[in-house]
Amino acid sequence: MASSENKTPLFGVLAEYASPRDIFHACEKVRDAGFEKWDAHTPFPVHGLNKAMGLRASKVPWVALVMGLTGVGGALLLQWWTSAVDYKLIIAGKPYFSWPAFVPICFEVMVLFAALGAVLGMFHFNRLPQLYHSLFHSKRFERASDDAFFISIEAVDPKFDSEKTAQFLKELGATHVELVDD
C-alpha cells in the first residue's frame, strides 16, 4: 500500500469499517487522538456520530433564519409599496395598507426564502456541488453509498503519518486500509 507514496501526492488514508457500531467507536478514538482534517463516510447519517467526531453545531439554521426574515420583510415591503405608495387603489373600502390581508403572502414568501436558505446554506457549508474529489479514486469507496463505513484522514493534517496513521486506523478495527492519491 505504500507503493505510490513518493510518486503522486497523497490525499490521505482511507479505512473501512464493518458496521455503524465499529465506526462510531473508531471515530471517538480518532477524535481523541487530536486529528483535525478527517471525516467519516456513511451510507446514512449514523446517530450520535457528530458527537463522536466532535463536530460543532451546524450553522445552517442561522442562514435559514436570516433568509426567512428577509422573506417576510421583503413581502411586506412589496405589498405596502405597491398598494399604499406606488399605485393607490381603494379596494373593498379597506385602508391602503391593510396589513391583515397581506399576512398570507408574507408567510408563503417567508417559507420559500427560509427553505432556499436552508438548502443553499447546506450546499455552501458542505462545499457542494463538488463533482471531483480525491476519494473517488478508491474503488472500494463506491460502497460508501451502499453498505460500507469509512474514515478518511487527510495527509494535510499535522498529525498525519502515512504508516502510523494507517496502523492506528487498523488497530481501531478497520477491515481494510488503503492510501488514496490526491
Binding site: S19, P20, R21, I23, F24, C27, D39, A40, H41, T42, P43, F44, P45, V46, H47, G48, L49, N50, A52, M53, L55, S58, V60, P61, A64, L78, T82, S83, D86, Y87, L89, A92, S98, A101, P104, I105, F107, E108, V109, V111, L112, A114, A115, A118, V119, G121, M122, N126, L128, P129, Q130, L131, H133, F141, E142, A144, S145, D146, D147, F150
Partner: protein, 518 residues
C-alpha cells in the same frame, strides 16, 4: 454516559418496518433494481395509457387556447366549473405527500421512510396538474404573467387583498418547496445509483445530479439540519396552502362558501384524498417492482388508519355545515344546504357522502386495513368521493344563488372531460418516468431506520436466546436480557419505532403474509 438509557432499551413489540432481508446491501439492491434493469411489461402498458391521455391533454388544451373557455360547460351562474374542481382536487392529492414527508418526519414516525419518496413525487406531479387548471382557465393564457407582481406597461399591480392572488403565491411556492425538499432527499440516493452505474451516461447524469455527494459525516450533519428545517417549514406550509385554497371560497359572500369551517375542513379532506391516492399508487407499484418487503402491510395499515380518521373528520364537517346553516337562521344559507342535499345536484351530494363518509368506515377492521383488494377499492372510492366533494362545493353553491331568475344548471362538455382525463395522463406519465429513472424508496432513510443502523446495536449472534428466532410469539413473550448493557446510549433514540428492537428478531411477517396475495 447520558441519563436516558432506559428509553434506548425499550423493546418495539410491533412487527418490523421491513420484512425479511434486513441488511443495508439488500435494500440498495431492491431499490436500485428498477432503475438499473428492464422494467416489467405492465409499466409499458401504464406508460402507454399515460402518454396517450397526455396527448389528449395537449390536443384539447390547444383547441381551448384557440377557441377560448366557451368550449367548456361554463355558463353564467356557474362560472367556475370543472377546471376549479380539478384544481382543488389535485392540490388536495398533493398534500398527503408533504404530510408523510414532513409531518410524520417531525413526529419521528419511522414507518414513513418506505413511502415518503414516492409520496413526495406524487405531491410534485399533483401540484403540476393543479397549477395547469387555473392557468388554462384564465382564457388568455399568454397574459398569465399578470398574476405576478412584475412591472408592466399599465403601471398597475396585482390586488394583494384577493385570496385568488394568495392562491397564486401559496400553490406555486408549495410546488417549489416540495420540489426542493424532494431533491434534497434524493441526493444521497442519487449518489448510490451513480456509484452502482456501470455505463458512461448513467454515471455522468446521476453523478451530475448527485452533486458529488460522498456520504461525508460533516455533510450529513448540515444535511440533516437542513432537512429538519425543510420539514419544519413544509408542515405549516401544507396547512396554509389548503387553507388559502379554501379562502378562494370562504372569503366570498356566497351561501355555501362563506363559512369559517372551510380551512380545517379542506385540509382534512386534502390529507384524506392524498392518502387514498398514495394507497392506489402503492398497491400497484409495489406489486409491479416487487417491493413487498420494503412496503409492508404495516404501512398500509397505518395509512388506512389515517384515511379513517380524516374521512371521519370530513364527515363531521359535512354535518357541522348543516348545523350552522340551520343555527345561523340565515335563509339563504339554509336554502343552499337543503338544495345541496335534496336539489338538482342531490345525486352528486350522495355520491360524495357514501364514498367519503361511509366507505372508509370498513377500516375500523384490521382485516380490511390489511387486505390489498379492499384497500385498493376503498382508495378509488375515496378519490371519486373527494372529486365529487369539490364538484358539490363549487357547482351547487353557484348554480342557485340569491336570485331565482339567474339560476341555472351546469353540464360539462366533452372538452371538460378531456381536460380531466388529460391531467391524469400528465400525472401517470410523470409517475411512470419517476419509478423508471429515480430510486422510488428513500434508501438512506430506510437503512437509517433499521435496528442495525444504531451504533449501539448488538448483533443477534452476540445474544443468548437467539434459538427462538423462528417464533415471533415466543420472542415477544420472553424478553431477552440484554447481554451487553450498551455503554454510551447518547443517540437521540426516538420514543417510537425500531431503533432498539434487537430483542424481537421477527424476520417473518406472521399475520400479514396471507393477505399479501393481490
Amino acid at each position: 454516559m447520558e441519563p436516558h438509557s432506559l428509553d434506548h432499551e425499550r423493546v418495539d413489540r410491533r412487527p418490523p418496518l421491513i420484512d425479511g432481508a434486513r441488511d443495508f446491501h439488500s435494500i440498495t439492491e431492491a431499490v436500485s433494481r428498477p432503475v438499473e434493469t428492464k422494467v416489467p411489461q405492465t409499466w409499458y402498458i401504464v406508460f402507454g395509457i399515460g402518454t396517450s391521455l397526455l396527448l389528449l391533454l395537449v390536443g384539447s388544451t390547444g383547441y381551448l387556447f384557440y377557441e377560448g373557455t366557451g368550449i367548456w360547460g361554463l355558463n353564467n351562474p356557474v362560472a367556475w366549473g370543472w377546471a376549479i374542481v380539478n384544481f382543488v382536487f389535485w392540490v388536495g392529492i398533493g398534500h398527503a405527500g408533504t404530510l408523510i414527508s414532513a409531518v410524520l418526519f417531525l413526529f419521528r414516525q419511522k414507518w414513513r421512510t418506505s413511502i415518503n419518496r414516492y409520496a413526495e413525487a406524487m405531491t410534485i406531479f399533483a401540484v403540476m396538474c393543479a397549477l395547469l387548471f387555473p392557468t388554462i382557465h384564465v382564457g388568455r393564457v399568454w397574459l398569465m404573467h399578470y398574476v405576478f407582481p412584475i412591472p408592466n406597461q399599465m403601471d398597475i399591480w396585482p390586488n394583494f387583498r384577493s385570496p385568488l392572488l394568495w392562491d397564486v403565491f401559496a400553490v406555486s411556492i408549495y410546488g417549489l418547496v416540495s420540489t426542493i425538499f424532494w431533491y434534497v432527499g434524493l441526493i444521497p440516493d442519487l449518489a448510490t445509483v451513480r456509484d452502482r452505474a456501470t455505463k458512461k451516461w448513467p454515471q455522468r447524469i446521476y453523478g451530475f445530479l448527485a452533486l458529488g455527494w460522498r456520504g461525508s459525516n460533516r455533510h450529513w450533519q448540515n444535511y440533516e439540519v437542513a432537512y429538519l428545517i425543510l420539514a419544519g417549514l413544509a408542515t405549516p406550509l401544507v396547512l396554509s396552502v389548503h387553507s388559502v385554497v379554501s379562502f378562494d371560497f370562504a372569503v366570498s359572500q356566497l351561501p355555501g362558501w362563506h363559512t369559517t369551517i372551510f380551512p380545517p375542513y379542506f385540509v382534512a379532506g386534502a390529507i384524506f384524498s392524498g392518502f387514498a391516492m398514495v394507497i392506489t399508487l402503492m398497491v400497484v407499484s409495489r406489486k409491479m417492482f416487487g417491493l413487498e418487503r420494503l412496503i409492508t402491510m404495516r404501512h398500509f395499515d397505518a395509512m388506512a388508519k389515517v384515511i379513517l380518521l380524516t374521512g371521519t373528520i370530513v364527515g363531521y364537517a359535512y354535518s357541522v355545515e348543516f348545523f350552522v346553516a340551520w343555527y345561523s337562521g340565515n335563509p339563504y344559507e339554509g336554502f343552499a344546504f337543503v338544495n345541496r342535499a335534496f336539489g338538482d345536484y342531490a345525486w352528486a351530494y350522495w355520491i360524495m357522502v357514501s364514498c367519503n363518509v361511509l366507505s372508509p368506515q370498513v377500516f375500523w377492521f384490521k382485516k380490511a386495513r390489511t387486505n390489498l383488494k379492499v384497500l385498493f377499492i376503498i382508495s378509488i372510492f375515496v378519490n371519486i368521493g373527494m372529486w365529487f366533494e369539490r364538484f358539490v362545493i363549487v357547482v351547487t353553491s353557484l348554480h342557485a344563488d340569491f336570485l331565482p331568475s339567474s339560476w341555472g344548471y351546469y353540464t360539462p362538455t366533452l372538452w371538460d372531460v378531456c381536460a380531466l382525463l388529460g391531467s391524469f395522463g400528465l400525472f401517470f406519465t410523470m409517475i411512470c418516468l419517476f419509478v423508471r429513472f429515480l430510486p422510488m424508496v428513500a434508501m438512506s432513510e430506510v437503512k437509517g431506520a433499521l435496528p442495525e443502523a444504531n451504533p449501539h446495536f448488538v448483533p443477534p449472534d452476540d445474544e443468548p436466546g437467539e434459538s427462538i428466532e423462528a417464533s415471533p410469539v415466543a420472542a415477544k413473550a420472553e424478553p431477552v436480557p440484554d447481554p451487553e448493557p450498551t455503554p454510551e446510549p447518547e443517540t437521540e433514540v426516538s420514543a417510537e419505532d425500531g431503533s432498539a428492537d434487537e430483542n424481537v428478531e421477527t424476520d417473518d411477517s406472521e399475520q400479514e403474509e396471507p393477505n399479501d396475495g393481490e
